[in-house]
């Protein structure tokens, strides 16, 4: 694994996060140091309560740290003010959520171009072409005028992926993207994410506890009790499951 900063799209150093007040505090993350490689599809795995979601929130600039430092590319975001973080998220980060989280009042097209509108601009011709390409490859061409509630879960998640990729962000965070999908839609969504990474060089960090989902990734980082316990290269679902079972027994 390389540690040079230009190959890392995001990293944390000595990261600690505690919740609650002095007497009843719970450490969600303890001294985590980790880098996400540019252009790679990374899965962050771990059982419930392992701190994987907290780690993702902090790396995406959604939550504050208790100790340690956080970088997105070469920008240190540890102590950025709210507005600066907001603009950073808008321009350099994409999100795919478990429950799709499309804006219910906007149609598919409106949801996809929302990140540009938040920036107060229209997509440029170049970006427009990219969006059209995304829409076609995600099979959303005939759905552009539909509202989220008129779509199936798998379709909604594809819209969310299109939205996340539209601005060509440095890093896309996917939080249990298949958590609410049936197995067929899940496979589709995972294949789309893997393709985005392989063909367009999109960096993706996906939080999941599903070994099958993780098997689509180039790299799998395991968390337990707020610390990184293992860092695997691409593995099969069986190998990942076996490792997780081993963790349970330990």
């Amino acid at each position: 694994m390389t540690t040079s900063t230009d190959t890392l799209v995001a990293r944390v150093e000595g990261l600690g996060k505690t919740y609650g007040t002095a007497g009843t505090s719970i450490a969600a993350l303890r001294d985590v140091t980790l880098g996400i490689n540019r252009g790679e599809f990374t899965a962050i795995m771990g059982p419930s309560g392992s701190g994987k979601s907290t780690l993702m929130h902090i790396m995406a600039g959604l939550d504050s740290v208790s100790s340690g430092r956080v970088w997105l590319g070469t920008t240190e975001i540890t102590n950025l003010a709210d507005d600066a973080l907001t603009i950073l998220r808008r321009r350099r980060v994409g999100f795919v959520f478990q429950s799709f989280n499309l804006v219910p009042t906007l149609d598919v097209e409106g949801n996809i171009v929302l990140p540009f509108e938040l920036d107060g601009r229209r997509p440029s011709a170049d970006e427009r072409a990219w969006i059209d390409q995304l829409v076609t490859s995600l099979g959303l061409g005939t759905r552009l005028r539909h509202r989220p509630h008129e779509l199936s879960g798998g379709q909604q998640q594809r819209v969310a992926i299109a939205r996340a990729l539209a601005t060509r962000p440095d890093l896309v965070f996917a939080d249990e993207p298949t958590g609410n999908l049936d197995s067929r839609s899940s496979r589709e969504v995972l294949a789309l994410l893997a393709t985005a990474s392989r063909e367009y060089g999109q960096s993706i960090a996906m939080v999941t506890h599903d070994p099958i989902a993780a098997s689509y990734a180039d790299r799998i980082v395991f968390l337990a009790d707020g610390a990184v316990v293992r860092d695997l290269a691409r593995s099969s679902a069986e190998e990942i499951s076996a490792f997780m079972l081993g963790m349970e027994r330990a």
Partner: protein, 466 residues
């Protein structure tokens, strides 16, 4: 029994308190006016004055209580909408829908009682204050006034009953909650069912047509006989009830038009969409204010048209209409204040509904924050939403009020001696200024708390699993 969540119900308690305080104070003050009139040697013990004052007071109280009830019913609907998950969970465990609804109505009863008692106290304090000031400035002789005439029980009971009833009406949605809604992820439900209320729409249209016909008749009859104004009242009741029933067909369209006026930036577009997203909810939010503005406008236009007609008649026959201006002016001032109170209650209701709807959108606001809405953009969105609602309500209220006011004046005065016949409605400029300023204030007031709450929503809220 569910503990009463005072924070959740504070707006409803406030509305009930305002209505009750208004009713109690108004009856106490009119009672005192009657005592004053009776003590006056010149006018003597005029029974008629007392009765007329009482009737006028009761009419205004009825309007205030009616507006309060509509506002409260809407508030309860909004509260219920936010509680669907909890209600579904209780249903899942085995509670019946009817029991759930009774529980909500129980809360409504307690809200009504608390508000009515608080209102009685506040109203009495206001009256005492008025009397003290009056006596101190020697405007009023220090007579023995009765602060608790039996009639004040009327508004108190009316507020308790209407609040209870409003909570019952507002909790209809409880019956349609299925236990399974407790298990689903928080998907926004789409509520484009407005066109679905067929029976209601038909009744609304029938009432509008019949009411409109009666109003037209009133204007025609008014040219020969002032009793036409009574026909006009009937037509007004029919057509306005029709409007309230069918408002969910009208308000969203007006809101869409108003929304377009705010441009096409992301916050403005989202705000406009939010305002029309649930036609039922935005109609609920605005209808109270529509009623308030309609009443004030109707009154102001009626009086202005009335003055206009009298002035024209005065020019024709100066001797018949001497000294009528002062009387008119005083009446206008007093009645405007009394009408304004109903509008105030309606305004409280709007502030309230907007706040609740923001609280219920935590997840969506979190999403916008996560995707890159700055706190300022969120605030602007809420402000535009508030402005759209206010402007739409004010516009509709102005149009309706102008029409009703004109019909009122025309049917009452079309036949006075020296009458110019049918005249165009006179819309007083002062009214427009007051309404615009009040609407601007209301927009800001209605958006302050929700905007503060909305900007406090952490982006992480969007990622929460339920």
């Amino acid at each position: 029994m569910r503990r009463l969540d005072v924070r959740e119900h504070l707006p409803s308690i406030l509305v009930a308190t305002l209505s009750a305080a208004f009713g109690v104070a108004l009856l106490q003050v009119t009672g005192m006016l009657a005592v004053l009139v009776a003590a006056d040697d010149v006018t003597g013990s005029s029974e008629t004055v007392q009765v007329v004052l009482g009737i006028i007071a009761l009419v205004f109280i009825a309007i205030a209580v009616y507006v309060g009830a509509i506002v409260t019913a809407n508030t309860f609907s909004t509260i219920i909408a936010g509680r669907i998950r909890t209600i579904a969970l209780l249903r899942l465990i085995g509670s019946s829908a009817a029991a759930q609804r009774r529980a909500v109505a129980g809360e409504g009863l307690r809200v009504g009682v608390i508000g009515a008692v608080a209102g009685a106290v506040v109203g009495t304090l206001v009256t005492v204050l008025i009397v003290r000031i009056g006596v101190a400035t020697s405007l009023v002789p220090d007579l023995r006034f009765d602060y608790a005439p039996p009639i004040v029980a009327l508004p108190i009971a009316a507020v308790v009953l209407t609040t209870w009833l409003a909570s019952w009406v507002g909790s209809r949605r409880v019956l349609r909650v299925s236990p399974i809604e407790a298990t689903g992820t928080a998907q926004e439900e789409s509520l484009d069912e407005s066109a679905g209320h067929r029976a209601r729409n038909v009744i609304a249209v029938v009432l509008l047509v019949v009411g409109g016909g009666i109003l037209a008749l009133a204007v025609v009859v008014g040219l020969v006989n002032p009793v036409a104004v009574l026909i006009g009242v009937v037509g007004g009741l029919f057509s306005f009830t029709g409007f309230v029933l069918g408002a969910h067909l009208v308000m969203p369209r007006v809101l869409r038009l108003v929304g377009r006026a705010f441009g096409s930036s992301a916050p403005a577009r989202l705000a406009a969409e939010n305002a029309v997203r649930y036609p039922e909810r935005s109609t609920r939010t605005t209808i109270g204010l529509v009623i308030g503005v309609t009443l004030i406008t109707m009154f102001a236009v009626a009086v202005a048209s009335y003055q206009q007609m009298i002035r024209e008649a005065q020019e024709a026959q100066p001797d018949v209409y001497q000294g009528i201006d002062q009387v008119l002016l005083a009446t206008v001032a007093v009645f405007s204040i009394l009408m304004g109170f109903s509008a105030l209650i309606a305004a409280v209701g709007m502030v309230n509904n907007l706040s609740l709807s923001v609280v219920q959108r935590t997840r969506e606001l979190g999403l916008l924050r996560a995707l890159g809405f700055t706190a300022r953009q969120v605030r602007r969105m809420i402000l535009v939403e508030s402005a759209s609602l206010t402007i739409a309500a004010v516009l509709v209220g102005l149009v309706l009020g102008t029409f009703y006011g004109w019909v009122g004046a025309q049917s009452l005065l079309g036949a006075i001696s020296g009458s110019p016949g049918v005249v165009a409605p006179t819309v007083p400029a002062a009214l427009l200024v007051i309404v615009v300023v009040a609407a601007a204030l209301l927009t800001v007031a209605a958006s302050v708390t929700p905007a503060r709450r909305a900007t406090r929503v952490a982006p992480v809220a969007a990622l929460a699993r339920d």
